[in-house]
Symmetry: D2
Subunit: 278 residues, 4 copies
């Protein structure tokens, strides 16, 4: 008995659920959980099917044959995902991920941490995880990104997590890891795009601040949003107080976004996501 997840993403047509679930029955696979969504405007169908049983090698090709042209059907394992984490100086998001790794509390294994400063080496190495200091000093952005890519590629990660990595990445970098780079942005996007969002929030006098976890695409802070959350602030909060309070929400939003991504619960379409939380 094995457990796998079937991820179906195709044009919406009548009968898809029946077709796919009938094939599951035919192969005596038990559906532990099934979740569907139809984006009616785009006539697009998404389904996540958690299956248990003995997987015959013909199962997936049968499913594919039953789907409309251009469909995507993938059968993925529930194994831990390999993560490379990129950081600058702030420890709160990295620390949280290291604890999750240590406690095996998320479906992840951190295989390496890369920092453009050496500040977070000590914390990382407490958890016996390799830390790579790839300084940006004296390098063009292109050269710096290429050096980071060289390190990343040694580890062949499933995902690259920008855990408060405070530098802009090159298009070359981003294109090398499509749908694999996840960033935590310290504002409730699309409010306060770009640098110093807490200072922007303070100056605007907002009563709520937030954080956004999103996939990274070529357009800064504009990739598909996975998860957002907020906390209330008031006139008592300086910009620095907001940044401090924001740390809690940054690490939580990143945790939650990762929990969905690592359990294969997220589909990307266009600039949006479908997140089957349950």
């Amino acid at each position: 008995m094995e457990r796998k997840i079937l991820l179906t993403d195709c044009h919406d047509e009548t009968g898809i659920i029946a077709n796919v679930t009938s094939i599951c029955s035919k192969y005596r696979l038990n559906i532990v959980k099934n979740t569907e969504f139809v984006a009616h405007e785009q006539e697009r169908f998404f389904m996540r099917t958690v299956l248990e049983g003995d997987f015959n090698s013909n199962f997936l090709s049968d499913v594919r044959a039953a789907l409309p042209d251009g469909a995507s059907a993938r059968l993925v394992s529930t194994a831990k995902k390999r993560l490379v984490v990129m950081v600058t100086k702030e420890s709160h998001c990295l620390g949280d991920l290291l604890l999750k790794h240590y406690a095996q509390a998320l479906n992840l294994e951190i295989v390496a941490v890369i920092g453009n400063y050496d500040v977070l080496r000590e914390l990382t190495e407490k958890f016996n995880i390799p830390y790579h200091h790839v300084s940006h000093e004296g390098l063009t952005r292109e050269e710096h990104c290429r050096r980071i890519m060289a390190v990343i590629n040694e580890y062949n990660p499933d995902f690259i997590v920008l855990a408060k990595y405070m530098r802009i990445l090159t298009p070359e970098f981003i294109e090398a890891y499509p749908q694999k780079i996840i960033n935590i942005h310290h504002s409730f996007l699309p409010a306060f795009i770009g640098a110093k969002p807490y200072e922007q929030a303070f100056n605007r006098g907002v009563k709520i601040i937030g954080a956004t976890a999103h996939f990274v695409t070529e357009h800064l802070d504009e990739g598909p949003i996975i998860e957002q959350d907020v906390i209330k602030v008031d006139h008592n909060f300086s910009a620095e107080d907001m940044a401090l309070a924001g740390r809690d929400i940054e690490r939580l939003v990143l945790d939650h976004a990762l929990s969905y991504v690592l359990d294969n619960k997220v589909f990307i379409y266009g600039n949006k996501t479908v997140v089957f939380k349950n």
Copy 2:
């Protein structure tokens, strides 16, 4: 083209989704939305299927034939539900419901309001809805409840909503309307069961207060919970301030609970609910 909702509730077995959705395909019914849940402990399967098409009279019996013994399958319309609202003196929940009725903002029609005081007649009649004052004075609880039942039965409602009706109902009353009576309780159940929950909350010094919408069963405040929500309070709140602040959350929780119930999104099993919010 008609839209109906198929509600399936049965023992969990392999192949149910395939069987039911295949029958939908066979009858050329388009699945607009499908949501399932398996309560693994109880081995019980729930599915809500929104269908569009021309409904053949054999469709439902075909579905039933394909389900395990003891299954329940119902095909329900999306028409407005008829509500009788019961009140005492507080206007905030009733007012909210009257506005929803007026703006056609929930899938409901309020067919009558019954109060054990005459206080809310004026507000109700502004909206051209009949108001029945059934005083409890000088009556036993049994006799009072019977008089209310006589009024209710004139209207044949789909649901009876206790919108801050502050008296206990008799077992006879409750048994007459199984799974049809919805109450809003002014605490985050199971905390502060019974009378004066805000005073209890104040005395305990809690930092959060809440409200709970639930189906009414013979056990006071212990029926299946449909929806709950909370707000933060602090030492500045007197018991009266909590009651005032609580009104917002009471009417919202009742609204939300009703929105799910009225759209046939709620299954009851044992003392719990499955609520397919989307």
Copy 3:
């Protein structure tokens, strides 16, 4: 025994609290509640003092004499505030305010409703409040705003509430009622400034939507924010679903903002507010 509120707003200097509260003691005024805030960057001091006692006519001038140059000190009553409400076609915010007026649940009296359509006359008149239909058709924006101002000025309101009034006001209008116009904007500002915020939110794929109550200044959607709140959404929400869900948060945010403003709990400074919620 009377209750009044002293509102102090001045340059921050050592000894202000002592000076002001000593004068309160000297006049045998009991401090029921006192709240202060210092905006350290601007060196500005704000204090709200709820007082009980017999108010001597010299009290306020004594307070003023004890404050730094340029200080503002006002002694305001706790009486109900007079509101003119401006609307277009949507009933949810107006309906909520009418119920608050009816139940005397906020410190307000709605003295008139002005609509650029006649749609909400029926609802308004149920509550015996005058409704003025001031159509914008065939008029310049300037002429339309002047006609509205003529109506408003008959009522001499304390505040003008834009309860989903969907047209832009002229600078002349805005300047005529400084710090008196309160708007509910259907997004979490500064995200989605301008028209159709829910459509913008849907297209961006955000996971949270919100509402913002703010004072209106000459810059569209950029006045001092009084209150904001949010709700979670997901891929299941169409733009229309977001708009529907947003109504709950719009009316609540407006309610809360008004509850602070009507109880003299809000100071405006620059483009921000100090809100002494308790």
Copy 4:
């Protein structure tokens, strides 16, 4: 220039704010922030005054002389508080506190961790903090508690934090550290007092779960509440899922409660707290 905090707690009388702040002025102490609260029912006055300046040794006695009989006035430093953390097997709350200690993100220093199992030694020692394994096996509760007290007393901590310490403490233990023991309870108290709150919550079918940080008194789970928070759950959550999701809220609630306690923002009176969050 030094910064200290004056904490005043006394019977409410007219003139206290004036008296105390006048003494501050007299000693040329600048009031950086002042927060007051009157519990009108109990006629009790609380004030937290953040002061800057040169502190004369007579200042505090002058303040005390100006207060009613039975008043408490304390002048406390803003230095880091010394914490002993007690644990059993779960790492999420301890891990969070260790990271806060490491990043100096809360006003605390963890001087020791005590566990009734040895499970969390490895994690603790990564951060160079002494770990004491005090097993309860083969000991009476009294003897076990006394051994823990012996360890605690070596460190003379300001507070003892029960970070998912899953055993009941003796009255002797509790009396030895009045107002110094802080517990995180894994439910929204007073709902689900006692053992296995997530299982209780699952069985009751609640739609929200929570956590509560409170001071420990002789009555189990009934001490003064400092902070509470909640998260939404639904039918998809098993009791185990609730426990997993609850960890996030447990560590956050404990963090927040500690942030208030460590900054001298919490007064205890009777079985309640006043928490001056700002």
